[in-house]
Structure formats: C-alpha cells, structure tokens
C-alpha cells in the first residue's frame, strides 16, 4: 500500500513538478542559457506523444485482424501517423521547449603548414637508405600491375567473355516450322491482314533472342522488298525478328493504316523507344533510334499449308554491338 502511494506521489511529482534550475558545482556560468518555461507547449508535446502512442497501438491491432478490408491502407495510416505525431512533438520541442542558441565559432584552420612540412619530411627522411629509387619504383609498379591482373583474372569466369559466336546464333534453319506460343504450327491461312502474330521455331527455347518472330500479311501493293530479300515472303506473309535492333525490347505494336489514318504505311513499332520498321521494305528503319534494319526471316508454305523457315535471318538479331555487321547469323 505504502509502495503504491509512493509511486502515485512520484508520478504526480513527475507530471507537475518542474525542474528548478540548478547552478553547477562551483557556481560556474551556465553553458546552455536558461529559458522561460512554456507549460502550454509542454502539454501539447505530451498530447502529440499520446496521439503517436495511440496510432502505434492501432498498428498491431490492424495487423492481427485477418481478412480486414483495406489492411495495407490502415497499417500504413496508423504507422505513418504515429511517426508524424512524433515528428510534430519533436519539432515543437525544438521550436518552443529547447533553448535555441545562435552561437558563433571560428571555422577550422584552412591548413596546417608546419604539419604538412613535417609529414613530407618524415616520408623523405625515411628513405635515406634507398639508392636506386628509379629501379625500385619500376619493380614496385611491375609487381603491382602483375598482381592486379592476377587478382581480377577470376572475373573472366563470370561469362563467355571472348567468344562472340553465341551472339550470332539463332535456332532457325531451313525447314523449321513456325509455331505459336502453345507450340501449334502456324498455317498460312491463319495469318490475316492488319493483324500481327508472334511465332517461334518448333522445339526451341522461346526466350532466346534469336527465336521469336513477328508475322504479318501485307497486301500485294504494300510489298516492296529490296532485291536482297526477294523470295523472303510467302503469299504476302513476311517474318521478322521480334527483338528490336535498338535496345532489345519486343516489338509489340503493329501500325496498320486502318487505325492511324495519318500514317501512310503499315509499320512495326517497339514500345520502348518507338523505333519504327517497314515490314513491306525488308524491315527498313522508318523512324526512331534503331540504327539497323529489322532482321528478316525467309519463309515458305509447305504442302500441308504450314509455314516453315527457308533459312536463317538476313542479319544478326537483337541490339547491336561493336562489329555486329561483320558476320551473318549462324544456326
């Protein structure tokens, strides 16, 4: 009982009692000047802290409730508001309850010339026994360089660093069937005008950059292939690599004249940086940043009416690298 009374008295004293300013031992001058008490602000700070505590209590409650609608919102609101109430309490404390001194102080010295000289002297004087400095420097440089090369050598294991052949490889070869995402072979009759289709080589990894194709069927008057692509189309159907030659995104927009009256020709467009290619002209760049035409795949229609590749692409697939134009793709 007596203990409870002590606790009660102590807490009342804590709540109401204001600290008397005390002189430090020896009657020295204060470091932080005294300020006027602000009981109103103190009360407000306490109220803000209590509000913060209430919000903080709400967080585990919201967390514990299963199937609560808007749980993320309630969790965020309770925790966020709790933090903001604490912020408000602290800022109020800083503005009203803490003595804000504006003190002046000298900037640190710009430099320490004597110390600098001493440092230089220590280094210079420590080397008095060396007579062949040039040679020694050369040896240290050589060792440092050699060791550096040795230490970074294991990085080469990260990937095939010198072999460029994987960049030219595609799964396409003569006779390979064109299939859709569910591995069903495309028939020429599936391909309609003013629509576009994604095709893959039968049985190959669909994710490899050299795999995916866009197929479109163009009316005869839109088809104006350059001489090197003569015979690439089959009954108006043309096939191009689906990977943009600019930065490697998939070409997923087909601008058929039907939808955009102001654009004269059908075009394949990459949505990343809007490189625009002409499907009727062998994949020529019409607009946008791509620096290389879209690689074209020669196709034919077999006796069953299914689409097959006649060979490999007419150029390397995917974004360009140094020397990309020097070789043709391989199977």
């Amino acid at each position: 009982m007596a203990r409870a009374r002590d606790v009660l008295i102590a807490s009342v004293a804590l709540l109401l009692g204001r600290r008397k300013t005390r002189l430090r031992a020896g009657g020295e001058e204060r470091i932080v000047p005294a300020g006027e008490p602000q009981p109103g602000a103190e009360l407000l700070v306490m109220a803000l802290l209590v509000a913060a505590a209430l919000c903080a209590v709400a967080f585990p409650v919201f967390y514990a409730l299963d199937r609560l609608p808007h749980q993320t919102q309630l969790l965020g609101a309770s925790l966020g508001l709790s933090l903001l109430f604490i912020a408000a309490a602290l800022i109020l404390t800083g503005k009203k309850l803490i003595v804000t001194e504006e003190i002046e102080e000298g900037y640190p010295e710009n430099e320490h010339e004597a110390e600098q000289e001493a440092l230089v002297a220590v280094v210079h004087e420590s080397g008095s026994r060396f007579t062949r400095r040039r040679l020694l420097k050369g040896a240290v440089g050589l060792t440092g360089g050699a060791l550096g090369v040795a230490l970074i050598t294991p990085i080469v294991s990260l990937g095939p660093v010198f072999d460029m052949t994987p960049f030219y490889k595609t799964p396409w070869r003569r006779g390979r069937r064109l299939v859709d995402e569910k591995d069903r072979p495309y028939r020429a009759s599936d391909i309609e005008e003013e629509d576009f289709y994604t095709a893959f080589p039968e049985g190959a990894d669909k994710e490899a950059l050299g795999s995916s194709l866009v197929l479109v069927r163009l009316p005869k008057d839109e088809l104006d292939l350059p001489p090197e692509n003569k015979g690439y189309a089959a009954d108006g159907i043309v096939a191009y690599s689906k990977i943009c030659t600019h930065a490697g995104c998939a070409i997923s927009l087909y601008r058929a004249p039907l939808f955009q009256a102001d654009e004269p020709r059908p075009a394949l467009v990459c949505p990343c940086h809007y490189s625009t290619f002409d499907p009727g002209a062998g994949g020529k760049v019409l607009f946008g940043p791509a620096g290389r035409k879209l690689p074209m795949l020669p196709v034919y229609i077999d006796r069953k009416g299914e689409l097959r590749a006649r060979g490999n692409f007419d150029g390397p697939v995917g974004p360009s690298w140094w020397g990309v134009r020097m070789r043709k793709p391989t199977t």
């Binding site: 969790l75 965020g76 408000a88 602290l90 997923s252």
Partner: protein
C-alpha cells in the same frame, strides 16, 4: 544517471572532449540545408524496409506455376523471383506496405539527392575546401541510380524485363568491349543464365548499399571536419566565423523531427498511394512488351535520351564502332556526370579563384555559374520530358513523331535561351541591389543631416 553514463564512457574511451565538441557542433540555419538530411533519412528507411523484403525475396529464375491468391495470374508460368514478390504483395501480412514504402523511399531518396545537388551547385558550396565532399556526393548519386535500377529489375515482372533488355542494349553498345562486358554480366547473351539474378541480388542488397554507406560516412565526416558552409545573413557571419545552432540541444529535436517526418510520410505513401502494381504487368518474356511503360522518375532522362537520338549507328567500312543506344544511354549521362565531376576544377581554372570559401554565393552572385547550371539543368529536364512524349500522344493526341522533332531542336535552343535569360536576371538583380543600397545610404545621410539641422547647437 547521466553523470554516471558520461563518466563510464569517458573513463573507458577518453572521448569526453570529443563528445563535448560534437555536442556543440554548429549547424547554420537554412531550410535548404535539410535536403541532404532528407536523403539520409530516406536511406535509413530503405535499409530497414529492404532488409525486411530480403527475408521473403527469392533470387531464382527457375520456372514455376503460380497458384497464389491473385486470380488473373493463376496457372501462369513465371520465375520464382516474380512469384516471391507477388507473395510479398498479397500473402505476406504488411508485405505490400513495406514493399511500397521501400519503392517510395527510393524515389524520394533520389529526389532529395538531386535537389541537394542543385542547392550545392547553385550556391557554390562545392568550392575549395569542399571538393572531396562534392565528388563523394556525385559518386553516391551514380551508385544510387544503379541501385534503384537493380531494385525494380529484381521484381522480374514485365516492366523489369523491359528495363533489363534496355540496360543490356546500352551495355552492348559500348564501343570495343560492350558485348564482352554484357556477356560477362549476363553470363552469355540476353536474357542470360540463372547466375545473373544472383549477381543482381547481391549487388542490390550488399555491394551497392555497402558502397553507399561507405561513401556516405566519408561524405559526412568531411562535412563535419570542414564544418558547414553558411549564407551571409548577419554581419558577424564571415569566411572565418560561423554562426549556427549547436547540435545539442538546438539541432537534435529538429533533425530527429525531420527523420520521423520523412519516415512517416514514406509509410503513409506506402500504405495509401499505390506504386508499381507488379501483379498487373505479369511475368516477363523476351518476346513480350507493353506500350506506355515508364521507368521510375530518376531514369526518365535516360529513356528520353534513348528516344530522342536519330537512327545513327557509327559505322566505318562495315565495322560498327558505336551502336545507337550508346548516345542516349551512356554518352548522355556520361557528359552530365563528367560535367558535374569536372565543374569545380573548370571553374577554378577559368576564374582563377583558388581561395578558401566558407560563405555561400547566392545564384545571382555568380551569373556565369548560374547560367551554365541553368543550361545543363534545363537540357536534362527537357530530355526527361521528351521521354514522356508517348504519354502526351495518348493523353492529348499530339503526334509522337512531330513532338520528337520539336524536342530534337528544343533541347538545344531552349536551354540556351534560359541560360541567357538567367544570366541577365542575375545581373539585373545585382544592379537593383546596388541601387537599393545607394538609395538607402543616401536616405540615411539625408535623415542624419536633417536631424543635425533640427537639433539646436
């Protein structure tokens, strides 16, 4: 209590004199000095929320079938990485809150760094003796940009994959060794092998954050060693004398208050404002992409750069020296960061000002610096806007191609006009101040003379 603690610490570390100095370290009072602090506190939130996310994330590209609670994706093939982020967003309690807070914190972190950098640049705070502090800051900005990019790449939704494809395209475009470098990073041509995701993950959760922490430590240590700069707002403030509020008690509640405010706003945003709804995009395949995809804001200038450049590959006699993405994706940020790194040195060379500076310039005090800064800033901002031209096309039906042509001209003309205008504005503001001062002095003299006459001798 406190006396006991102080004695304990001092007897065992001998740091009482140092701690006393630290406690009374002076902070000059100006709102713009808080921008760097906002970045610091956002970084703390990033580390805290990121650590939590790492308890659930799986850096695996093994293909799995989704059977989670989000109906539209049920039965779809996806990587384990994407599934784990979907689970964080749907089944882990408070997971979505933490993930969105993490994403918001990244956006705010970079925004605060960029605003802080603008303050530093336009007030000349980077001048001797604070060049090292400045260079550390720029380095942190670069690492943070990469860190943010890796962060949203790890999700492995459609947006991540498109971003990675572009990153691959830019890496590949580096002259002479780009393909070799990309092959090392991705372990072969895109989309790479399984190891690639582990590499991104360790870089995102350990290498880059640790690097930022080290740079940050050095940055703050240098700030403290050389003390803050200050604006000259009172007569007693000078190159030799600093006026400010001591760390304790004055600055502590303010700084802590700012920390809680930053954390509070980020958590509120994370809970109430949706960001990157990854379930809507679906899994990535190299053969799929979507229209209207935009990166986080801090990479918007790069997508603008990539989109603006006309279709130039630099080819010499069949040898492709510079593929196109290099211009917008590597050369453009390269020029911007080279400018930022070299600027303190360039300014010193040209102006011949080798003195120590503790007092800040106002932008008008250095018209040349302000004009050049305005040129660079508006250049980058215009390229940033060019990156959003497709949204303008969709929203306001203004043809994309004509917008791009306008931007291709405007990014050179508008910054030049703005630079000239700001140079002129600086001069005018200064001249007006001189006139004002003269007037003030004349009035005071007249007033004093009148008083002398009025007072009988």
């Amino acid at each position: 209590m406190i006396r006991k603690a102080v004695r304990f610490v001092d007897q065992r570390s001998g740091t009482a004199p140092l701690l006393r100095k630290t406690l009374r370290y002076l902070f000059p009072d100006h709102w713009s000095f808080l921008l760097g602090e906002v970045a610091l506190y956002a970084f703390i939130v990033l580390v805290a929320t990121g650590t939590y996310l790492a308890f659930f994330y799986q850096d695996s590209t093994v293909q799995v079938t989704y059977h989670g609670p989000y109906v539209p994706l049920q039965g779809q093939e996806m990587t384990e990485a994407y599934r784990s982020v979907l689970n964080i967003s749907t089944t882990v309690k408070a997971g979505l809150l933490i993930r969105q807070t993490h994403h918001w914190a990244a956006d705010v972190f970079l925004a605060a760094i960029v605003l802080h950098l603008l303050r530093i640049f336009f007030t000349g705070a980077y001048r001797k003796p604070r060049e090292l502090t400045y260079w550390l800051g720029i380095s942190m900005l670069i690492v943070s940009l990469l860190e943010g990019y890796l962060g949203y790449s790890l999700v492995d939704d459609l947006l991540s994959g498109m971003g990675l494809a572009i990153g691959y395209g830019v890496a590949l475009s580096i002259p002479f060794f780009g393909a070799n470098l990309a092959s090392l990073i991705w372990d072969g041509p895109f989309p790479g092998q399984h190891a690639f995701f582990s590499r991104m993950y360790i870089a995102h959760v350990f290498l880059f954050p640790a690097l930022i922490a080290v740079l940050l430590g050095a940055h703050l240590a240098l700030v403290a060693l050389k003390h803050h700069t200050q604006f000259r707002r009172e007569r007693r403030q000078s190159e030799r004398k600093l006026v400010g509020v001591p760390m304790f008690p004055g600055q502590t509640p303010r700084s802590l208050g700012l920390m809680f405010a930053v954390a509070g706003v980020l958590v509120l945003l994370g809970g109430l404002v949706q960001i990157n709804p990854i379930w809507l995009w679906g899994p990535y395949h190299t053969y799929s992409s979507t229209n209207g995809a935009q990166p986080d804001w801090y990479l918007g200038w790069l997508i603008g750069g990539l989109r603006l450049v006309p279709h130039w590959d630099f080819v010499i006699d069949g040898y492709t020296l510079v593929p196109n993405p290099f211009w917008g994706g590597a050369a453009f940020p390269g020029v911007v960061f080279a400018f930022l790194f070299l600027w303190p040195w360039l300014e010193r060379k040209v102006s011949g000002d080798y003195a120590f500076h503790n007092v800040l310039d106002r932008p008008r005090d250095a018209p040349w610096r302000t004009a050049i800064g305005v040129w660079m800033l508006s250049w980058v901002v215009l390229v940033f806007f060019a990156g959003g031209a497709d949204r303008v096309d969709v929203l306001f039906d203004i043809s994309y191609t004509s917008q791009i042509w306008v931007y291709r001209v405007a990014v050179w003309v508008v910054p030049t006009l703005l630079a000239i205008a700001s140079f002129w504005a600086c001069k005018e503001l200064r001249a007006a101040e001189v006139v004002h001062r003269e007037q003030h002095r004349a009035e005071e003299e007249a007033h004093a003379a009148a008083e002398r006459e009025a007072t009988p001798v």
